[in-house]
Amino acid sequence: MGKRTNLFLLLGGGLTALMVGLALLGTFWTPYSPTAMGAGEKFAPPSLAHLLGTDNFGRDVFSRVLQGMGASLLIAACVVAIGCLAGTLVGCLCGYFGGPADYLLTRLCDAVTAFPSVLLALVIVSLAGRGTAQIVVALGILFIPSFARLVRGETARHRQANYIQSARLMGVSHGRILTAHILPNLWGVLGPGVVIGFNNAVLSEASMSFLGLGVQPPFPSLGSMLSDSQTYLQRAPWYALSAGMAIALLILGFSLLAEGLQRRRRA
């Protein structure tokens, strides 16, 4: 087991840092206002003035991509936060205490994961209405089962371990065993889990916005940009390409980072 450099971690971490950095930049500063029509000519090809060209309203695509990434990542962060916090809570309790509640919740998680998540999100949104908050809540709920299952398995494994039995013999309470003895052992699986969650959340949000159910115009989101740009694929291919590449690079960064984290854990 030599200390070989973890290429996945390096590349994934670098790419993710770059994209998140750009997205952060986009929330504070963009070269042009992302919603200002006529920032340049309509359908201007990429140039020094407009790095990624302009769209059908003459809006600067680079500015829109920057802010769109920010919006996508913010939504992904909220989705993952909901899924991870609630999933960890459910998973810990189920894995530690077991019993009929565990059985029921596990079956429920299986049932939820059996449906395609975008389809379920569609159902939730059609009931709750479209909008950013609805998307966050709908996806957040759908992300709970994957975290719950991950944490449940690990918790059940640790519960059997001798050091947990020792803690019981010492008279440590169940609550403290969960928070101080088991939880610190979960970071190793939660880390890659969160990164994969980001990956899936960015994709799901993009799909929802592509279908017009997520972030509403005129505010940019990578998914809605990709959807808008379809009409102008011939006249302004840079528009679709920019939005598509931003999504692809985000996903690539997260996937590489997740793989890198898992390899480091196994090493």
């Binding site: 371990a161 001798n162 050091y163 039995q165 020792s166 803690a167 019981r168 013999l169 010492m170 008279g171 440590v172 003895h181 610190p184 052992n185 970071w187």
Partner: protein, 235 residues
Amino acid sequence: MRILEVEHLSAWYPSGRTRRQVLEDVSFTLDRGQVLGLVGESGCGKTTLARAILGLHRACAGVVRHAFPRPQMVFQDPYGSLNPAHTLLWTLEEPLRAIGTGRKERRDRAMELLDRVGLGPEYAGRYPQELSGGQRQRAAIAAAVIARPALVVADEPVSALDVTVQRQILDLLAELKRDDSLSYLFISHDLNVVYQICDRILVMDKGRIVEENDTDTLFAAPKHPFTKKLLEAAE
């Protein structure tokens, strides 16, 4: 004074749709400050008995009476007995936290115990993954005795170790017993080890106690054929 009384203890493991009995009507007592040995072949039920006594094995019937709260256990496998997410110092302080010992005293006592089990202060910040099997076993013993329990059940505490480390650990256990009037239920399949440390010995065969006597008598004049067989095998 009686520290532990076990009466008619039986235990099972689920096996398919039925259950398989691994302990059959086990009864014995342990007095304060004594070391009671439990010997028997591999798979005869020693670990199961230890776990049943401490309430860690649910599928059992019979009576187990402890005179003092919080008996502790040193597990057979030193690899799973320390929490990988915490340093040795944290692990050693945890039993004291559980009984509400103050911060300063916890730290002092943990450092004292580390020293007594032959792990210097430089080990305080180490994680179990950074220790050898013998070092882990010593740390596990330190964690078991740090809150001054009256009874420690030690399940093959030295079986995984080489002879010199075995010697160190046996000396340590003897010393702790003298200083803190600890009692042990000491489980082993190694008669030489048992001879060195135990006052009395229980011989177990297929889940039953077949002979019980003080160490010298048992070694000098074994009565049960199974005990004779064990002694012959050990020579």
